[in-house]
């Protein structure tokens, strides 16, 4: 079984339930965050090359493109966190009968946090 087949089965959304779509979003967000961790390690490693290199690198993230990057990162972080909390509860066998309500609450909390976070990033940090 190849990687392509695995990805297709994870990210299949046609005809899938809300739980499966949430699984797909959570997994995709997890992969993106794992990739970001690598970028972040490279980012802070520039300190080894001196403060001026690190500061120059930081300037990239302070630019408008950097803000867009922050927004995207925040979206994935919140989705992974909120849906991960839902997943942790039901995967421990808790609230199974009310899992659809719990999932709806997780999505609602995620959307609220997304809006708050994006406003903070664009209007306060920006």
């Amino acid at each position: 079984m190849g990687l392509g087949e695995a990805l297709r089965s994870w990210l299949r959304v046609r005809g899938r339930s809300a739980e499966h779509v949430s699984f797909a979003v959570r997994r995709l967000a997890g992969v993106v965050l794992a990739l970001y961790l690598v970028v972040h390690m490279v980012d802070i490693s520039t300190l080894l090359m001196g403060e001026h290199v690190y500061s120059a690198f930081l300037q990239v993230f302070a630019s408008p493109i950097g803000l867009v990057f922050d927004v995207v990162l925040w979206v994935f972080l919140v989705l992974h966190g909120a849906l991960g909390l839902y997943s942790a509860l039901v995967e421990a066998g808790l609230l199974l009968e009310r899992r659809k309500v719990l999932l709806a609450a997780a999505w609602a909390a995620a959307l609220l946090l997304l809006v708050v976070g994006v406003v903070v990033i664009l209007y306060v940090m920006g």
């Binding site: 079984m1 087949e5 695995a6 089965s9 994870w10 299949r12 046609r14 005809g15 899938r16 339930s17 739980e19 499966h20 699984f23 797909a24 997994r27 997943s87 039901v90 995967e91 421990a92 066998g93 808790l94 199974l96 899992r99």
Partner: protein, 217 residues
């Protein structure tokens, strides 16, 4: 109603699958299986598929219909046709034998000791409780479709019943290829034609294991 039945075809020796289109006249209340059977009898005798009971009991006719796993014998044409089109594919997560026929042996022979295969144990207890062994839960599960060693939803749900009744589960059930591989996508439960709820049972079995309420043998 006029129906355009699109069937995913593949036979041993073919380099790639292809999609064949059959234009057929259908009654909206007849089953998708009836349609497939008619095509096989009248239009293309080489079209292969599985069926037996025709009333949702044997579990043989599970297929993916317009992207959703269904028992085709209890799926009405009028309920699933989209703009007159019905796309029929074999179940995911199993090796395709020919056209719409898949090899479901991964569901029946997952225990390492072959004297305790699902079929043999099930023979002395009620047949998998309410499960019809159609394999739809495997096809719907993203883990079963990407992790061949995963025991799979119906086997684990069966193990839950055994744990409740006998207080023990086979070691593979409590291993990394057992209950701990499930990631709560719950499409096994959503697509199960008999509401066997494998996803919920896997999570309940996890809870029993976490509490030390069942013995791993």
């Amino acid at each position: 109603m006029k129906v355009r039945l699109v069937v995913r075809r593949w036979k041993e020796g073919w380099r790639a699958p292809r999609y064949d289109v059959f234009e057929v006249e259908a009654d909206p209340s007849e089953s998708v299986l009836d349609l497939v059977e008619r095509v096989s009898l009248k239009l293309d005798p080489t079209l292969t598929f599985e069926h037996a009971c025709h009333h949702g009991v044997c579990g043989a006719c599970g297929m993916v219909v317009n992207g959703v796993e269904r028992l085709t014998c209890v799926t009405r044409v009028g309920d699933v046709a989209r703009n007159g089109v019905i796309l029929v594919e074999p179940l995911h997560g199993f090796k395709v034998v020919s056209d719409l026929v898949v090899d479901k042996s991964r569901m029946f022979s997952r225990y390492p000791d072959d004297t305790r295969t699902l079929e043999r144990v099930a023979a002395r207890v009620e047949k998998l409780w309410d499960c019809v062994e159609c394999g739809i839960c495997y096809s719907a599960c993203p883990v079963a479709c990407s992790y061949p060693s995963y025991l799979g939803p119906s086997v684990l749900a069966w193990a839950f019943h055994r744990a409740v009744e006998e207080g023990m589960v086979p070691a593979p059930v409590a291993s990394g290829s057992g209950v701990w591989s499930c990631h709560a996508a719950f499409d096994c439960s959503e697509k199960c034609p008999v509401n066997f709820q494998p996803g919920e049972k896997i999570m309940r079995l996890r809870r029993l294991l976490l509490r030390g309420a069942v013995e791993v043998v």
